[in-house]
Amino acid sequence: MTKITLEVNGKKVSKEVPDHTLLSVFLRDNLNLTGTHVGCDTSQCGACVVHVNGKSIKSCSTLAADVEGSKVTTIEGLAKDGKLHPMQAAFKKTHGLQCGYCTPGMVMSAVDLLQTKKNPSDQEIREWLEGNICRCTGYQNIVAAVKEAATKM
């Protein structure tokens, strides 16, 4: 067992968990933050993407112990005071989701993109989102959402 202390969505949390606990499991099972999804479990689908110290990573392929002391942001941490984050609002506006399973990962990944690139091209958005798989939308409206958010962020 190991004691994990993290700052999750601005709140300090501390839990004793087995050493092999994945960050995705820690967030979902220990903190009840089930917005972070686990899709493929083989590190390819990107539904589990969260931010660790501001950078997007796949939480299903990261040990909780490995990010000890870090700042973690999950999809639950994006909206402020009941108001959607511009990326969430853009996904809603452009219908960038259908079943919604991949959406938390898509949104977290896209937010990271816009942190480093203010006005990405369609090609840059598509390349960045290579690690996020969506089986419903055909990606068109997801790209549109990221472009829409780029004008607001």
């Binding site: 190991t2 087995p18 050493d19 092999h20 994945l22 479990d41 083989t42 590190s43 390819q44 990107g46 993407v49 950078k55 997007s56 990573i57 796949k58 299903c60 392929s61 990261t62 040990l63 112990a65 490995d66 000890e68 990944s109 990271d112 993109l113 960045w128 290579e130 690690g131 996020n132 798989i133």
Partner: protein
Amino acid sequence: MKSFNYHAPKDVKDASKLASSSSAFLAGGMTTIPSMKLGLASYKDVIDIKNIKKLSGIKVSGKTVTVGATTKHVEVAESKDVKKAIPALAKLAGNIGDAQVRNRGTIGGSISNNDPSACYPSACMALNAVIHTNKRKIEAEKFFTGMFETALKSGELVEAVEFEIPEKADYQKHPNPASRYAIIGVFVAKHKKDVNVAVTGAKSCVYIDKDLSKKLSSNFSLSAIEGAEVKSSGMNSDMHASAEYRANLVSLYAKKAVEAC
């Protein structure tokens, strides 16, 4: 995933003391953790080496670029020093996996795992890399010994990879659309005296295509390899590409790389 004990030592000495026949070093974990989750590997002890400060960072000297074992792909891809000294290496790192893999995955992890489709081993071979471990220095050609096999002994840890700066180089990859691993990757490096054409993804282990290297060494131009035949014997054949298709891709991507040099 089976349970294990997690360790995060602060120096190499402590890390190697913890190592045993049932332990694994953990860097980015982009292969190690999925392998453990799938039950393909299990360990008693997982030794995280990311807290060992001296294992991370990029140094450029007159003739070489040295990349610390725990340096992440994104750091190599965005490094101004690497872009200036060996732009092909920065390009290679920037196309590994996806953005999230590049934010975690490391060069030391990639070469220690020696996946037959990994990108970095081809750069090591073409750029005459020397692998620095906590025990010795190993030339790339002697380091990659077979499919997922390296010359590393139990408890031996890669500390850094030292690449020779070439006159010109380029890396061309035909990625698997889902995993972004190389179905074929060709790294062409023109050094002062000779040219290396390293191929990944084609066979069970990265290799130097001696025929293409020789032809380009005597005449570094597209015409030198225009009609060169790449044999498909010994090449992988799977649902993504037949051996014959891979052989054709090697030829095609070698030309692309020479053109881009």
